[in-house]
Symmetry: C2
Subunit: 180 residues, 2 copies
DNA sequence: GGGTGCAGTGCAACGAGTTGCATAGGTAGG
DNA sequence: CCTACCTATGCAACTCGTTGCACTGCACCC
């Protein structure tokens, strides 16, 4: 139940509408906590009812009105309560592991090709993250507080993708050698 | 929708009851596709109705009867169909990233302690996986087919935990230095 | 002129996963 | 002796997340 809190963090960084939050999730927080606009709208309404956020309706020309949300004092209190609360460590959940484990039940090469496909996709993500790192954090040693935290989160994404790609390479190599 | 397929893989390796499958998930496949006994029971019934598995009721003394499931021809067909079907790569989803991003909104040290806690838990998991590796796969170069696949899946778990622990160390180091 | 994409909100239905509980006898430990 | 856990199944209720759709109007490209 952390989408509420992910939204609180995002809104603390900057106020925004549901739509705008969904875009931001696509580009940053969503790398670590994906969410669709649907989910965000529903949760924002719930948070509004709970008093964690307040909204201001903004009339616009040519396009629909929007509701811009900001975090209330209660929301900030809830966020700092949650930050201090111990969280269960996340678990892995990747169907590729299941497929690999069942690889001998498919035609030869089928799972190998799937691993290669996943490798390519993760390598692409890694490229994206590295690009962000080069562009936004060229001098990591100088970073403090918020900027530092954002950088470290990105580092987590980079490390995760790197290790996934390296694993794929190990798997691809082993599967090729196993087939004479 | 891969729990069905995870169960098919597990049942192909060895027939079993719902309960027994739940135990096995706790100890092996569940490292990559966690599932509770509840979920497994429900999905097994659905799979039975769909004809992917068949069950035999086995009377026991002193304890409840059990239903032992085995994969049918239709189940094997479905499994090989699924294995050949491209899967969307898994996404990261870890609340620790959200907490880190919101670290400056909590009292100093609160998030640092949480990262340390997670590091410890992931290090423990890593130890468990390494133990399994030493015990079950002392000579990885000799492995083939099923054994090789199982080993490679385990390697994925090890790499993921290693990289998570390394990231935690980077974060802990950076957070300590940032606080004068 | 028609398709696509963006901005903006939202409903309705579904599927996946979690939690609490119930039943029932056996076995182990404080 | 009582608590707690193990084997074994299952119901009920819930939360969480996904997918498909609807409406409006502008801008862009072919």
């Amino acid at each position: 139940m952390a989408l509420e809190h992910a939204i609180l963090v995002a809104l603390t960084e900057r106020d925004g509408s549901g739509y705008e939050l969904a875009r931001r999730f696509d580009r940053s927080i969503g790398y670590f906590w994906p969410a669709t606009h649907q989910q965000i709208y529903r949760v924002l309404r719930r948070m509004d009812e709970a008093g964690w956020v307040r909204h201001t309706e903004i009339a616009q020309e040519g396009r629909p009105d929007k509701k811009v949300y900001r975090v209330s004092a209660a929301g900030r209190a809830e966020l700092s309560r949650w930050l201090a609360e111990p969280e269960d460590p996340a678990v892995l959940r990747d169907a590729l592991g299941v497929k690999l484990r069942g690889a001998s039940l498919a035609k030869p090469g089928v799972v190998l090709r799937e691993v290669e496909r996943h490798r390519a996709e993760h390598a692409t993500r890694l490229e994206v993250y590295c690009g962000i790192q080069r562009r936004d954090f060229p001098k990591p040693a100088k970073l403090h507080d918020r900027d530092l935290h954002q950088y470290l989160v990105l580092r987590g994404g980079i490390r995760a993708e790197e290790s996934f790609v390296a694993w794929c390479d190990e798997v691809i190599d082993a599967l090729r050698k196993d087939k004479p």
